[in-house]
Structure formats: C-alpha cells, structure tokens
Amino acid sequence: MDTPAVEVTDLVKRYGTVTAVAGLSFTAARGAVTALLGPNGAGKTSTIEICEGFRHADAGRVRVLGLDPIRDAAALRPRVGVMPQSGGVPTGVRAGEWLRLLAAFYAHPLPPEALLDRLGLSAVARTPFRRLSGGQQQRLSLAAAIIGRPELVFLDEPTTGLDPQARMATWELIGELRTAGVGVVLTTHYMEEAERLADHVVIIDHGRVVADGPTAALTRGDRELRFRAAPGLDVSDLAAALPPGCSVTERDAGQYTVTCADPDEIGPGLVATVSTWCASRGLLPEDLRVHRRTLEDVFLELTGRDLRD
C-alpha cells in the first residue's frame, strides 16, 4: 500500500508529428483527489488514457497502484474504474441494464438500483442510452466507473456539460468516494472544480506540467481586499487608519485595493476599518471582498494564457 496511486515519470506521447504529452511527471496519492487541470488540448486525456492502459506511451514510465497499466492490465482491471470523456455505452442499452451488466463483472458491486437512485437516474432506468440527456449520460458513465467498488477511479472531464445541480451532485459523490478511501484522478478545465474537489492539482499546458502541488499551496499567497466606490477619492486618511505595512491604491478608476505585506493582516479588523471609513464618508463600498489567488490567477501568471483557451 506504500506505492502511490499513480506515478508518471517523463511521459511522452506523440500522434504523428504532434507531441501531445512532452515529458510530463506527476504523482497521485492513494485515497486522495488529484486534478489534472488545463485547457483543451493540453494533453490531459492522452495522459489519463495512458494511465488507463488504453494507449501506449512513446517514452517515460507509468505506474498505477505500482503496476504497469498495459502489462499488468489483468490485475488492474478489477481495481480501477474508468469514466471516458464520452460514449463507451451501446446506444440501445437501457441505463439500468448497463449498470446491472457492469455490476455482474464484479464480486462485490454497489447495488445498481441504489446507485441509479443516488445519481438521480431512477426515473430513466428503462430509457435507452441514446435518449438520455448529455448530463444523464455523464452520470451513468460515472456510475459505471464506480460500481465495482474500485480503489482508484479515472474520471475524464466528469462534469463537462452538466447543469449546476448535476455538477454539485457529482462533486458531492466524488467527495464521498474520497472519504471512503477511493483515489480519484480527474481531468477538468474548470478551475473552480479543481479548487473545490482536489487535494492536489497538476496544471498542464502544452503537454507539460506548469504547476504541481497541494491545492491550498498553489492558491495561497497574497490576499487582498477590494471594493468599488466613486473614482478619485482621497484615501490618505484611510491609509493612515490601516495597520502598518498595509496600503490602499486605486488600481483602475473607482476600483480600490488594500494590500498588506503580511497577508494575515487581511482579516475581519481590516474589513471593519474599511467599512467604517466608507461609512464616515457616506460611501457604499460595492463588491467589497477579500480576493484570494485562484488557480486561474496561477495559470495566467505561469502561462500568460487563459485557462479556457
């Protein structure tokens, strides 16, 4: 049990002249949620499909639960659940039928009816796959990935195209899997998904890892307090009221930002100071908020590109 869930070292994957994965390395811990985050075409799916044993690597080393995904496929299959990005289900098969089939492949599966119910699919249990909505198809694929009670699941874009409620339900489920000790490796291009779900984030761009670390560590750093008010205010007396090491600037017209050398100074006291100053002037501070660095900010800093490219 001491080997990591997934260990990828210097992975390379080429399609003809295109290099999809260019020397990528990361480690995913057991029983934790690891997110491979990056824009479309970054090499996320190639990486996850090599881990699933669907594709051969051109170079590098991949170990899943300490085993080789292709050579040791027989030993890995019962232990690893897979949710492909799309498809993978015969168009004429009914939702319930598909889950019961997959359940029959495992010795100790989850009860299919209860899992359908849990994912809000009971009402469409008898509906053929091709007539399910995109979100229902996604959830059925997710159910199929976990029905065998695997110790590790690979989810390729599990919430792409889901409506907000279905996404929330999927997030909850992934949280429960983690609590139960299931390792989860997922790909996503939603930074809020990675921030919310993942213990560990691997940011990928152009087939390389551009940042890798615990989610909190990646997004830690300078917090700041922002608010909007009338442009061109004289903020010198506010600056005087702030704790030492803090300053206030008007970055854009009407957009004020308070930053502190020690980020811990950005606390409830500071919010009160700013509010009091506004009140004394009869100002309503709009969009008053403490801004924390997001994965989007991290990605922008590292690549100068938008995550949704």
């Binding site: 690893v80 498809g87 168009t91 100790h108 849990r118 009670r149 110790e151």
Partner: protein, 261 residues
Amino acid sequence: MSSTTPLDFTPRPKAAPVVRRVLAQAGLELRLLLRNGEQLLLTLVIPVLLLVGFSIVPILDAGTASRVDFLAPGVLALATMSTAFTGQAISTGFERRYGVLKRLGATPLTRLGLLAAKTLAVLVIQLLQAVLISTVAFLLGWSPQGGAVGVLSVVLLMVLATAAFSALALLMAGTLRAEATLAAANLVYVILLGLGGVVFPVDLFPPALLPFVEALPITALSTGLRTVLAEGAAMPLGPVLVLLAWSVVGAALAGRFFRWE
C-alpha cells in the same frame, strides 16, 4: 436531485467469476439483438419471407424435388450468414465507433470475454433461427434427409460457417469506419444472397464462374446443407474444407488487423 440512499463506497475490488461475466455480457448482447428491429428483419423476417414466398409461388424450377426441400437448406444458410456476418459486422462496427469495445475492454470482462459473449449470443440467435425456419419449412411440407449423421454434419457445417462469417465480420468491423461497415455488410449480404445458392441453384451460373461461386462461404454452406438435407449425403467434404479455409484465413486476418478503437 439525488436522494440520500446510503452507499458504501469503501474499496472492495474483485472480479466476478469468468462464467458470470461472459453470461451477463452474452445476455445483454442477446437482448440488444432481439430488441433491434433492423436486426430482426435481417435475421428472421427476410429468411422466413424468402422461404414462404419461393415455396408457394412457382417461379423457381426446383426439378422434381419439392421446392421447400430445395429452399430450406439455402434459407438456413442465409440465416446463418445474416446473424454471424451481417448483423455482427454492423453492431460491432458501431460499438467500436462509440467506444464500447474499448470501455468493456477496461472492465474485468476482458476482450476475450467479450468475444466469447458475442459468439454465445450469435449461437443462441442461430438456434432460434433454425427452430423457426425448420418449423415453417415443416409446415410447408419439408422432408429433410440425412438422419442422425445428417444432423451432426449440419451442426458441423453451421459451426464452421459461424466461425468463418464471424471472423470476416470482425475483420470488416475492426478495420472500416462504422458507416462503411454498414454499407459494405449490407452489400455483401445482397450479393451473396444472389450468388450463394440460397434461392437460385448455382448451376444456373456460367460454368466459367462456377469455381469462383463455389469458393464463397455462403455457397459452401448452402451446398453443404443441401447435400445433406436434400440428398441424404453423410459429410460433404468439399464445403467443409472451403468453410475451414475461410475460418482460418478470416481469423488470422481479423487477429492481425482488428482495431479496438
């Protein structure tokens, strides 16, 4: 949207016994085939219509033997081809296109288990076809020859033909695009229906064409079945060898060129 049914996600991974996996998959394959209208048209409706139509309407010169005695073996051969070749090529082609083969290959079922399940489902459908076609043929006055040895020969011919047709179906489904497979499989079905001694005797063709026509798997099957069931021969060696050759070559090519995605 989700209720709070308690589910224990604690990992407990283990594959079910292989027999259970294969039977579950075969059961699903069978249900999908029986639910698919186009497949049923191909595997049951068309063969039965041909049998009934050509038996009743005297457009076929079947010599002194009754028309149904000539037709029943040919229609049995056609039914075998429609299930093992045409139906299987089309369904497998689309399963490959939709990533189903790939997905199932990642479960404890395994690829070999998937092939076993498909074979099992095909054999069950063929049994259904044989029972239905024989029943209709008997109602039309069919009197098959051959006795117990004949039954054995028929089973051998059918099994060899199933192996040959399945190998060719997988070769096509595993190499062409799904749409191309759909078109080609239907085209081959119609051509072999015309050429293969199913409803027209092959000796109607020009003698120069005969060796080519007799080398087709459908002709080998229909001629072999007819030799046993209409003429009472024990074991038609020629057709058995032709089907064996197609099975070996087809399986070798399918094994070499089949792509799972």
